[in-house]
């Protein structure tokens, strides 16, 4: 297994800077997601790690060894392309066997490995088909099998689930995670879907405009985003401006909100207060202490969960909870949130 490190990697196409000094460390056997909006440089980063693109400056290290000068063929990486890039003139079997056959693996061993991997991706029945005769999910499994059979030390996947329907996407997600755990391969995958990134990855690197905005575990990314942009991208709905009147109290348009004291903020700071909609308690009776009053203006029922829009002071706050009860629209309510679940951001 291989540890991957990007040191101040920068990539420029002509005058256009696609990647600006990215530092990234991926532990051996880790599953990391590169997350970001379209055009932020995810594919470019993958291509540099694979060796398809040379960094304009900086270094890429595998197990501490600089591979910037190493040609693609010698890096022993695997890459599943966004559009699979299967060889259209070869059958499934030939596609999958391509890697080992050009690496001179003996016939008998190749046949055994081929059978094994086709079994893993459940494509044994399709081995004599051509790519044009396969569905999207099957093509993708061929692409994965073709990569895995070479036993890469780093596996890269560019938007592996983008072209699939919802059901297949769920199946493939589970499939990829199982595979990754089974083989323990250092895996980097690209996505612009934050749910997918959080569900699959050990750590997520959020990239905006060629800059690494945050590199963290999914729960920290979700609960404690480093910036407004990250919070926004992670789908935070309730962010209200406020003023810290003391270390543990923020005055906002919603009302006074108790917060956990933080070292980087002090009384008098202007802040953005982030309230995750599922961390808010919705009460129909006024509590003894705390609680900001509001009124429900809309209710969206999702079966297992329910989401309320609550007019609260100057702002409309989104609250979601499990659908054990349903509170009627128009009802007066009080919102409360544990101070340690409130997150502060700078403007």
């Amino acid at each position: 297994m291989t540890q991957v490190q990007l040191k101040a990697v920068r990539k420029q196409f002509g005058n256009f800077v696609a990647i600006e000094n990215i530092d990234l460390e991926i532990a051996s056997g880790e599953l990391v997601a590169l997350l970001g909006p379209s055009g932020c440089g995810k594919t470019t980063t993958l291509r540099m790690i694979a060796g398809l693109e040379q960094p304009s400056s900086g270094a890429i290290l595998f197990d501490g060894r600089d591979v910037s000068e190493q040609p693609v063929q010698d890096r022993n990486v695997g890459m599943v392309f966004q559009r699979y890039a299967l060889f259209p003139h070869m059958t499934v079997e030939k596609n999958v066997a391509f890697g080992p056959s050009v690496r001179g693996v003996p016939r008998a061993e190749l046949a055994a490995r081929l059978d094994e991997i086709l079994d893993v991706v459940q494509l044994s029945d399709f081995r004599h088909r051509f790519p044009a005769q396969l569905s999207g999910g099957q093509m993708q499994r061929v692409a994965i099998a073709r990569t895995l059979i070479t036993k890469p030390s780093v596996l890269m996947m560019d938007e592996p689930l983008a072209n699939l329907d919802t059901k297949l996407r769920g199946e493939m997600r589970r499939f990829i995670r199982d595979l990754q755990q089974r083989f323990g391969i250092t895996t980097i995958f690209v996505t612009h879907d934050q749910v997918e990134a959080m569900e699959l990855a050990d750590r997520v690197a959020v990239i905006f405009n060629g800059h690494l905005a945050q590199y963290d575990t999914p729960d920290r990314l979700y609960r404690q985003p480093a910036s407004l942009d990250v919070a926004d991208f992670m789908g935070a709905s309730n962010i209200v401006p406020g003023l810290l009147t003391s270390d543990d109290l923020a005055k906002t348009g919603v009302g006074e909100i108790r917060v956990a004291p933080r070292r980087t903020f002090s009384a008098g700071d202007k802040v953005q207060v982030m309230l995750r909609s599922e961390a808010i308690d919705l009460m129909t009776e006024q509590p003894a202490t705390g609680g900001v009053p509001g009124k429900i203006v809309a209710r969206d029922f999702f079966g297992a969960s329910v989401s309320y829009s609550v007019d609260c002071g100057e702002h409309r706050i989104n609250v979601s909870e499990q659908a054990r009860r349903l509170v009627d629209v128009g009802a007066p309510v009080w919102l409360d949130i544990a101070p340690e679940r409130v997150w502060l951001l700078r403007n």
């Binding site: 694979a50 398809l52 890039a85 003139h89 391509f98 050009v102 088909r129 073709r146 990569t147």
Partner: protein, 313 residues
């Protein structure tokens, strides 16, 4: 059909009834749309072909000859050993120049998909020969390659030879270097154009995937790129080869003289004072058509087999 028949139509039923009115109308409309091109093909091409075959079989009452059907013209032609030498020369020039143009064309197309400084300029430059007529190319060859031409003078000037006349004979030999040079010069851009278009269509991803899987450049070309550009290779070489087999000016001006290539032989018959030799000329033309047809058909059939093997229909 009774009123109680099921709502779902039985496919066997449909087959029995034959094409529906709508299908028939669609088919007629297709024919109508095809009519103009079919008319041109049948009248210009088919008509001329039938006439040529008839003449070569002794039917030419307008020359006062009508011995139809008479295979004597073909017999005389195919019975002489010079015909076979001529055929060999014709095929040799056509094959060698097509092969060389193919290699150059593919290399050039591969280079053009890469990014390099001045690419836009090269993309215009390489197409230049396409716009210049063959005769100009032939004149250029004479200017450059003949004894007393530019190359020989340069060689003499550089002291490689004492006199331009000592320059090795390139033109007017049966090796046909001049002919081949003109064909290659003119057809390389054509093949480049065709292959480049296909290359742009297939993109670079499969090649990159192959590289990541560990293939070197040679393997990538022969196992990944070439099979994918084959449609462009086949169609462009087909056109070049067919042209080269039938081309007249280059072998006439730059060739080595008797025995000539078949188109030149035909031309000599047509130009003879004895106009009954026209029929012999027609037999020659029909022979060229037959040979070219058989070769091209075989080539296409082989390519179809390859396509089938790749699962394309």
């Amino acid at each position: 059909m009774s009123a109680s028949s099921p709502a779902v139509p039985d496919p066997a039923d449909a087959a029995l009834r034959g094409p529906s009115a709508r299908e028939r109308r669609a088919r007629v409309w297709q024919m109508v749309q095809l009519a103009p091109i079919m008319a041109v093909l049948v009248l210009l091409f088919g008509g001329a072909l039938v006439l040529a075959v008839l003449q070569s079989l002794g039917f030419a009452p307008w020359f006062g000859v009508n011995t139809f059907p008479d295979f004597g013209y073909f017999g005389a032609l195919w019975g002489s050993s010079t015909f076979w030498v001529s055929l060999g020369l014709t095929l040799y020039y056509a094959t060698v120049s097509t092969a060389i143009a193919l290699v150059f064309g593919v290399l050039l197309a591969l280079a053009l998909v890469k990014i390099f400084p001045g690419k836009t300029f090269y993309k215009y430059l390489y197409k230049l020969p396409l716009m210049i007529p063959y005769t100009v190319g032939i004149a250029l060859a004479v200017l450059m390659l003949s004894n007393g031409g530019m190359l020989s003078r340069l060689a003499a000037f550089a002291g490689l030879i004492d006199d331009p006349a000592q320059f090795p004979q390139i033109l007017k030999t049966h090796y046909g270097w001049g002919i081949i040079a003109v064909y290659v010069w003119k057809q390389t851009p054509f093949i480049t154009l065709a292959v480049y278009a296909v290359l742009l269509g297939i993109g670079r991803e499969t090649e990159e995937a192959a590289a990541i899987l560990g293939a070197n450049r040679r393997t990538i070309f022969f196992r990944v790129t070439l099979p994918q550009i084959l449609p462009g290779v086949v169609s462009s070489t087909l056109i070049c080869f067919a042209f080269n087999v039938g081309a007249f000016e280059a072998p006439f001006i730059l060739g080595g003289g008797f025995p000539d290539t078949l188109p030149v032989v035909a031309w000599r018959y047509f130009n003879d004072a004895d106009y009954t030799l026209q029929l012999q000329g027609m037999a020659t033309v029909v022979s060229i058509g037959l040979v070219a047809g058989v070769i091209l058909f075989g080539y296409l059939a082989a390519y179809r087999r390859f396509e089938r093997r790749m699962g394309r229909n």
